[in-house]
């Protein structure tokens, strides 16, 4: 079980340019596998362009109470990068003028940002239709000051999206750390207790499944059936939807793939599972991702690889609606993760 981020360990893979170099070379350089660009060219989908902006995804910081093995953010307690109130204020302005209907807060543990509650209160006033907080659940138990989060979420009608790699303790703890499963179960029960995830209740609780290893997620609806059956029978827990998300070969997951000698097989698996029909539904086509320090990216994964958006302005303070429209999306081999099988995005599968 890892205890520190790649950043803290000073691993070469903590540098985005090293990750991109890895993804550009080897089996993609020698032609064994096609690059993502040539693959989407073959189905006449290059260049991939943005559609209407619908979702603003904000990374409130890399600080987290957990150190998950697969984390593409390389988050953990040793990360100090946190979005400032000033940057949050720029984000509020963009929400007002861009007309986005979905606001998606992520991290790290977004709740650890000292201005998290202030921001949620201010953003709530702007009439966001779907206000998502990606919570790791255990944060609620990490400190007394977080114990009332379920009620805070309820008060602001937050759509809670929580990671839950499996309905068994062993698999969950192996990926997310010892004790994570038991705490997650307790918090899910608390969320159910205030109404979250209950049938016919508008307080939305979705779970995110991502594979605990070098394999793809299975069929989202079949997995959802299994999760619902097991969590209800064993823990009396209910939730609305399961979002199956593929692990992308970047950051800590890339490190895991290389160390465990699974990298080539995993890339083969992603390329073989390439689904041209999933390309147009990937989240970067309607999402703008904002980093803790205000830079703009096509998605959270590009953010971690420091692949900033195309265009003259690249910072939230200079946001321009016009410039965003019909922009060419920055791609690399990691994009195969979002187009494999039924496709994958922060909203789960993108096609059938």
């Amino acid at each position: 079980m890892i205890k520190e981020s790649l950043h803290k360990r000073e691993s070469s893979l903590s540098y985005p340019e090293k990750q991109l170099e890895y993804l550009a070379n080897g089996i993609f350089k020698n032609g064994e596998l096609p690059t993502f660009k040539s693959k989407i060219e073959a189905s006449n989908q290059y260049p991939l362009r943005t559609k209407k902006l619908e979702t603003l995804q904000l990374n409130l910081g890399y600080m987290c109470n957990q150190v998950c093995e697969h984390c593409h953010v390389d988050a953990g307690p040793d990360r100090k990068e946190i979005m400032t109130k000033e940057t949050m204020a720029y984000c509020l302005e963009v929400i007002k003028k861009s007309g986005v209907h979905t606001l998606d807060l992520t991290g790290g543990a977004p709740e650890m940002n000292p201005n998290f509650r202030w921001f949620v209160e201010e953003a709530s006033k702007l009439g966001i239709k779907d206000f998502i907080v990606r919570s790791n659940l255990t944060i609620v138990k990490a400190n007394k000051k977080y114990h009332d989060l379920p009620l805070f979420f309820k008060e602001h009608n937050i759509h809670v999206v929580s990671s839950m790699p499996h309905w068994t303790k062993g698999k969950t703890d192996k990926q997310r750390g010892d004790g994570v499963f038991d705490k997650s179960i307790q918090v899910l029960q608390e969320l159910n207790g205030v109404g979250y995830g209950m049938p016919n209740n508008e307080l939305r609780l979705d779970l995110v499944y991502n594979p605990s290893g070098a394999f793809l997620p299975g069929n989202q609806s079949a997995m959802e059936t299994e999760f619902k059956k097991s969590l209800l029978a064993e823990f009396n827990i209910q939730f609305h939807n399961l979002l199956a998300i593929t692990n992308l070969p970047i950051s800590r997951f890339l490190d895991y793939l290389i160390v465990s000698d699974n990298y080539e097989d995993y890339m083969y698996t992603l390329v073989e599972a390439f689904n041209p029909a999933a390309v147009q539904g990937v989240m970067c086509t309607n999402t703008l991702s904002v980093s803790w320090d205000g830079w703009l990216y096509d998605c959270d994964f590009n953010q971690m690889l420091e692949l900033k958006v195309n265009g003259k302005t690249k910072h939230i303070k200079d946001f321009d609606n016009e410039q965003y429209a019909d922009r060419e999306i920055v791609i690399s081999q990691h994009c195969y993760g979002c187009t494999a099988g039924a496709g994958s995005s922060c909203q789960g599968s993108v096609s059938q």
Binding site: G213, F215, G218, A222, M223, E226
Partner: protein, 111 residues
């Protein structure tokens, strides 16, 4: 590295068998794909059957493929090992049931 008859990378090349016999290869893969679709049995149940049979026929490629397939379908390691035991039980049962033949022959030959 010493040469072996089995090479795990060959699993990736399985589809190439079609190149030397297109019609038969395509018919096989169409059939194979159809077999594993959801039907009267779920894809999950079929994956476990495939895993058990993989062990019985001792196919290393199939074991790799259906261990990964099981993980993708959220099948637990306990379920996978029970499936392997089902295969092993049938295989050892198939050996042992011939013991009756041995017993019959023994009795027939003995005074």
């Amino acid at each position: 590295m010493s040469k072996t008859y089995y090479n795990s990378d060959d699993l990736r090349k399985f589809g190439k068998i079609t190149e030397w016999s297109e019609e038969l290869g395509e018919k096989f893969f169409d059939y194979y794909g159809k077999v594993f679709e959801e039907g009267a049995l779920t894809a999950r149940e079929k994956s476990l059957i495939a895993l058990a049979v993989s062990h019985v026929v001792k196919c290393p490629y199939c074991i790799d493929a259906y261990t990964k397939d099981g993980l993708q379908k959220g099948i637990t390691k306990e379920e996978m090992m029970e499936a392997v035991h089902v295969g092993a039980a049938i295989e050892s049962g198939a050996t042992l049931v011939h013991g009756v033949q041995m017993m019959n022959k023994y009795e027939k030959l003995s005074m």
